[in-house]
Symmetry: C2
Subunit: 143 residues, 2 copies
Amino acid sequence: MARSYRIGELARQVDVPVATIRYYEREQLLPKPNRSAGNFRLYSEAHRDRLVFIRQCRSLDMTLEEISSLLKLKEDPQSSCEQVNSLIDDHIADVTRRVAQMQRLKQDLESLRRRCDSTRSAGECAILAGLLAARPERPHPGD
Amino acid sequence: MARSYRIGELARQVDVPVATIRYYEREQLLPKPNRSAGNFRLYSEAHRDRLVFIRQCRSLDMTLEEISSLLKLKEDPQSSCEQVNSLIDDHIADVTRRVAQMQRLKQDLESLRRRCDSTRSAGECAILAGLLAARPERPHPGD
DNA sequence: CTTGACTCTGAAGTTACTACAGAGTGCTCA
DNA sequence: TGAGCACTCTGTAGTAACTTCAGAGTCAAG
């Protein structure tokens, strides 16, 4: 008789909020578990393994859609490593781009910050002036 | 007689979507402009300058709340450079933390990717196995 | 007048959660 | 048995910074 877990137990084991587990079920990342007579969710070891997988992917900043794709590949006997590799490669490329952007942003900020080395009024602030002078680029470098 | 701009003109000048300009007004980052007889918004040069400021700050990944604070400092004759510096420093520290996180994430991904150098079925994929084996950390390194 | 581009407002959607409200369950202890 | 507390349930709304959609009005040119 395989043991089962209530949602709070599972949440503590995997270190994830209860609400997030319910959210993943709604988003169909986690299958619906069995229920107790009192309608409490009863999770299996397989559920726990799947949740661990999802959280590990999230820690690698993969989107829920990407994770869903990986889960499908994992369960499809016809799929290959090639498809997994491709998905991971795309994700790496995206993260690489975002790292470069964040570093540029950091440099821009430090450059801006160096404009001000004295205590003046905000009306004369070289930082604020700098924010007016430059042509803005397309924002959202961090997302 | 200072010229005024309709919203589409302003949007093109500053390279920002029309909907975003309206959004900034709703969020009270931009003051309500005058209106034409047909209820069209009529923006001034001051509006345009303010919008440029906002977009430059966004390009530095500052939150709307931070930008609002800067705008208030800019307009308050009692405020000092010190307050601007403090805000920028806090933001730089935040961005620095996020860059470091993103770099760790990139390394983790590349490490994971190196596990797979052959074409096997997904059922035997070393990447997928790696996503099951490791203990997940708290996600959201990128936000 | 018609047409097409533009404008308006309000509401809803995006992503990945998170919090809240109100009601039900289960377990322990007196 | 009943109380009390921790836990669970569902549905809804909120977060940040937008973005899209629907339906209606304006404006300028042909």
